[in-house]
Amino acid sequence: MINLLYFLSRYGGLLTFVLLELLSVYLVVRYNQTQRDIYLNSSRYYSGILLEKTTQLRHYASMAEVADSLSKENATLYNRLYSQLAITPRDAEVDSLLSPFEFIPARVIKNSINQPNNNLTLNKGELDGVQAGMGVVLSKGVLGIVRNTSPHFCRVLSLLNSQTFISAAIRRNNAFGVIHWDGLSPNVVVLEEIPKHLDIQVGDTVVTSGHSSVFPPGLEIGRVTNYYIPSGSNSFRIDVELFVDLSRINRAYIIRNRYWDELQSLETTESK
């Protein structure tokens, strides 16, 4: 201790200076409102610049991947478009009846997969025609359901959320049930309520059933990896592995049903 004091008094001028000066500046920033505001604002300004640059860099680094997925999505859309043109009768009125679904492209600006109840934010809102209750899909998979909207953004109840229930079917035999997430793995969801007398095989493709106005029928969701009948139950419990890694998505499509308002008002009058 004595030695330490001796050392400080002999050579500690610079050390004492640096420590006390830092302490002073800390006091200035901590206890003076004006200086505190200036400090916070300028540090936010500089950290903002830094964050913006790193984000730009990251976006640039993932550009090739984004372009790939975009071209794939384009291809899927073209396929869908042409297959529909092929079956469209010449009558134009019937055409719009055949395909009541309209796709609104959107960018994912916030995403989570590690919460028990996950939500997303997309960059399309009321001004783009988005309303609560609409479905959100990916080029190969289902993302969730719009929960609420603001003029420019919407919050989406992710498929990985205990409140999300989506009607789905096995493509091979049209056996349909309900998909929800058990909160365990972010790329496995559970398909339930398929009666146990039906035939299920590992590797079957699960698609949207079309028994709702939210999703068009036939959108691919995932593949059956495992199934069993819980004791005392009349239906299968099927593990479905998703086709898309939900942690790596950046673009999605919000589905608008052209007859949304009509269907809503019809269904509400019925329930009264």
């Binding site: 500690g12 001028g13 200076f17 302490l23 200035v28």
Partner: protein, 173 residues
């Protein structure tokens, strides 16, 4: 030791009281003159004995600055400036070193080294001190005009007041 320490302690208490009870109340004008602040307490730091170690001098300066801050309600501003100028003090002393150099036993007064030495010591030391006070007060280099105005006004006034006080209260030579 206590014989040697006593004048410094008395000077410390007296100048701090003078600073916080009287000089703090003085406001010279409503216009740009309101930026002028008379600081006399740095004289305490200027006159601390040369043979004290730098660490002790810096510590004393920090505590003095903290006491001033307590009354000025500017935590850290005067403490930071005092710490800095105490650290810088040996450099100032070297700049204005007399031809014969210093003897550590000598007191840093006008009586020892003469009027012109005292004037340049005060001028350089106070410039450093007041510049840091104003930088910590304004806390941005964006309004550098205001910063320079504040520093210049306070500097001229403080140097004049300190030299006058020195001449009036120590009329030895």
């Amino acid at each position: 030791m206590s014989q040697e320490l006593r004048p410094h302690i008395i000077r410390l208490i007296f100048l701090i009281l003078l600073q916080v009870l009287i000089l703090r109340q003085i406001q010279l004008g409503d216009d740009w003159l309101r930026f002028a602040e008379i600081l006399i307490y740095p004289l305490v730091l200027m006159m601390l004995p040369m043979r004290w170690s730098p660490a002790i001098i810096i510590l004393v300066a920090f505590v003095t600055g903290l006491i001033i801050d307590l009354f000025y309600d500017t935590p850290g501003v005067h403490a930071g400036a005092s710490t800095f100028s105490a650290f810088f003090r040996p450099v100032v002393l070297r700049i204005i070193s007399p031809r014969a150099g210093y003897d550590p036993k000598q007191q840093l007064t006008r009586a020892t080294f003469g009027m012109s030495w005292m004037a340049s010591y005060t001028a350089i030391f106070l410039f450093v001190h007041i510049l840091i006070v104003q930088i910590l007060t304004v806390f941005t280099f964006y309004y550098w005009g205001e910063l320079l105005l504040r520093t210049g006004l306070s500097w001229i006034l403080s140097v004049v007041i300190i030299l006058l006080a020195d001449i009036i209260f120590n009329p030895k030579s």
